[in-house]
């Protein structure tokens, strides 16, 4: 890693760029993302339309920049919600221990045995797809994973001497949780946050791609792939560019974690 100094900041820069686009996207978009341009359908890349046009003849670059708000925004809120809940439960389990720890661990472990896409599909079938449903569902799906990591790290920290000292001093459970255990596990928690964010982005995009995520007229990157899928057989760039935007985000986050926290492991 050290040898490739110039490459080190590319990944974080891409992440920061997409984070900025959640606010600035619609502002700096060259055209109105919903306006039909004076262009052909599925036009290729050109000077006027940098990333070509979509199945309605709308500017793809503008639509991708506007879609960042949904993909990055929803994923960020969901991941924060999942990580916050997982952190709280994991800390509580490690600090309280006993039957509480065991019951919670068993329940959340069982929840993991439902594949994430399945969980998403069942919820959308029951509740329909709306922004709050999507955010809460994505968060619920990834709480058990966050909880597992936090608990396993916290249990190790909780066994260290300074925690025993704090308990012996007569500090309460909350003090031990927040002031003694939490500050000593920020690294692993942040690295896990990045990984969860990637999974959330991929799941959200998949749901939208299936037409079960973000609903029209709003469109995230997964929806953009779906609405242009008709152009796939003729090789329209409008199909592949939003998918590449997703890949640029997930790979950049992945490399950023690698750069800051060392090697990563695990799959979806």
């Amino acid at each position: 890693m050290r040898r490739r100094q110039p490459l080190r900041w590319i990944a974080p820069a891409i992440v920061i760029f997409w984070l900025a686009m959640t606010v600035l996207g619609p502002v700096i978009a060259p055209y109105d993302p919903t306006a039909i341009q004076d262009a052909d359908l599925f036009e290729g890349l050109s000077r006027t339309y940098l990333l070509g046009t979509d199945y309605f003849g709308r500017d793809m670059l503008s639509r991708i920049l506007a879609g960042a708000r949904y993909t990055v925004g929803i994923a960020l809120v969901s991941t924060l919600l999942a990580a916050g809940t997982g952190l709280l439960l994991g800390l509580a389990a490690s600090a309280i221990g006993g039957a509480f720890d065991m019951a919670l661990s068993r329940f959340l472990d069982a929840l993991i045995s439902i594949p994430s896409k399945m969980f998403g599909l069942v919820v959308v079938a029951a509740f329909g797809s709306s922004m709050p449903v999507l955010i809460v569902t994505l968060a619920v799906i990834y709480v058990p994973g966050c909880y597992r990591i936090v608990r396993s790290v916290a249990v190790n920290v909780a066994a260290l001497d300074f925690v025993t000292v704090a308990r012996a001093r007569g500090e309460g459970t909350f003090y031990v949780m927040l002031r003694e255990i939490l500050p000593n596990m920020i690294g692993p928690v942040l690295a896990d946050f990045g990984l969860r964010f990637i999974y959330v982005v991929l799941l959200l995009s998949s749901l939208s791609f299936l037409g079960l995520g973000v609903q029209p007229p709003e469109a995230d990157w997964g929806s953009l792939v779906r609405e242009n899928i008709g152009g796939l057989a003729e090789g329209a760039p409008a199909v592949i560019t939003p998918a590449l935007a997703i890949a640029s985000l997930t790979i950049a986050v992945n490399l950023t974690i690698d750069g800051f926290f060392g090697h990563r492991q695990g799959g979806h």
Partner: protein, 318 residues
């Protein structure tokens, strides 16, 4: 010793059945959690009161939730998940007509993906640190961090649009001979295989490297055994357990991939059936498909677990 393994296997089996029951309960709770009247919600505000009453009866909403839960569970165990809300057909029949297609797709994918993944994983482990190993490492991370539909659309763009080796989208229809099989299955199987191979090759590589770094392999090296002999007779037999674990675990990724692949290639399997069911909010159909997928997932994960236990005596004393 065999008694111990038998007892552990029984334990895993019971755990798997208990988990399946938990999953069934979770699916039931989620699909019955909607506040207010599900029937009204599903039919929309413009529905006539008679239609709403009919749907309430079809969904069994006139019985108390707990009783409904046991009825539903009982029917599910007997293999009768009810009738579709959309076309009134028995759900079991709808699934039955599609199950073969999905199994065929999954089977062909496994036949292609497993040997390729094992070869890549073993080669990467043997030439650890080489350029080949690094390409495999970067490639697998790349594939697991991008959405499946990117792999699928890239495959269509490359193999169908630019190289014109296969048609972009082809219907299942009639299959006459090997050419038709390739025409229909090439792109879906390629996409699914990419996802499985990435996962499986990584795990195989890790398992074999673990075996290669053990002291008995060092002993064999010192003794002057040839590299081929070291890998085939010393390292590989001891890595069979972890590799079997990797295969079963990686195949569980088929379930997520198949949903995207059947949709993008318009393949008439259960995953497509389920996605259509979700879009029309056909709850009995979605429940049944979800249970089928979760069951398959559990079987694969349990198999992976069992392979690990049988192969590694240290896991037997937990």
């Amino acid at each position: 010793m065999n008694g111990l393994i038998g007892r552990l296997l029984l334990q895993r089996l019971i755990a798997a059945i208990a988990t399946l029951w938990f999953v069934a309960t979770a699916v039931f709770v989620i699909t019955n959690l909607l506040p207010g009247d599900v029937a009204q919600e599903l039919l929309g505000q413009s529905a006539t009161p008679e239609a709403v009453a009919g749907l309430r009866k079809a969904l069994g909403l006139d019985v108390p939730p707990l009783q409904r839960y046991f009825q539903w569970l009982g029917h599910l165990v007997q293999g009768d998940p009810g009738r579709s809300l959309v076309n009134q057909m028995p759900v079991a029949g709808l699934i039955g007509s599609r199950l073969g297609n999905s199994l065929l797709l999954a089977g062909i994918t496994a036949l292609v993906a497993v040997p390729v993944a094992l070869l890549l994983g073993i080669a990467a482990a043997v030439w650890r640190g080489s350029v080949f190993d690094r390409i495999i490492g970067a490639g697998t991370i790349l594939i697991v961090s991008v959405p499946e539909f990117l792999v699928a659309s890239a495959a269509v763009l490359i193999f169908a649009v630019h190289l014109k080796w296969v048609p972009a989208l082809s219907q299942l229809g009639r299959i006459d001979g090997i050419a038709d099989v390739i025409r229909v299955f090439a792109l879906p199987v390629f996409t699914l295989s990419c996802v499985i191979v990435a996962q499986m090759a990584r795990m195989t590589r890790a398992a074999l490297i673990d075996a290669l770094s053990s002291s008995y392999v060092e002993m064999a090296v010192l003794k002057g055994a040839s590299p081929g002999r070291i890998i085939l007779t010393h390292a590989l037999p001891n890595a069979v357990g972890p590799i079997a674990n990797a295969i079963a675990f990686s195949l569980s990724f088929l379930l997520g991939g198949v949903i995207i692949v059947e949709t993008i290639f318009n393949y008439p399997g259960i995953a497509k059936l389920m996605v259509d069911g979700v879009a029309t909010r056909d709850l009995p159909l979605v429940q049944a498909c979800a249970m089928l997928f979760c069951g398959a997932y559990l079987i694969l994960v349990t198999l992976a677990d069992i392979a690990a236990i049988v192969a590694n005596p240290r896991l037997r004393h937990q």
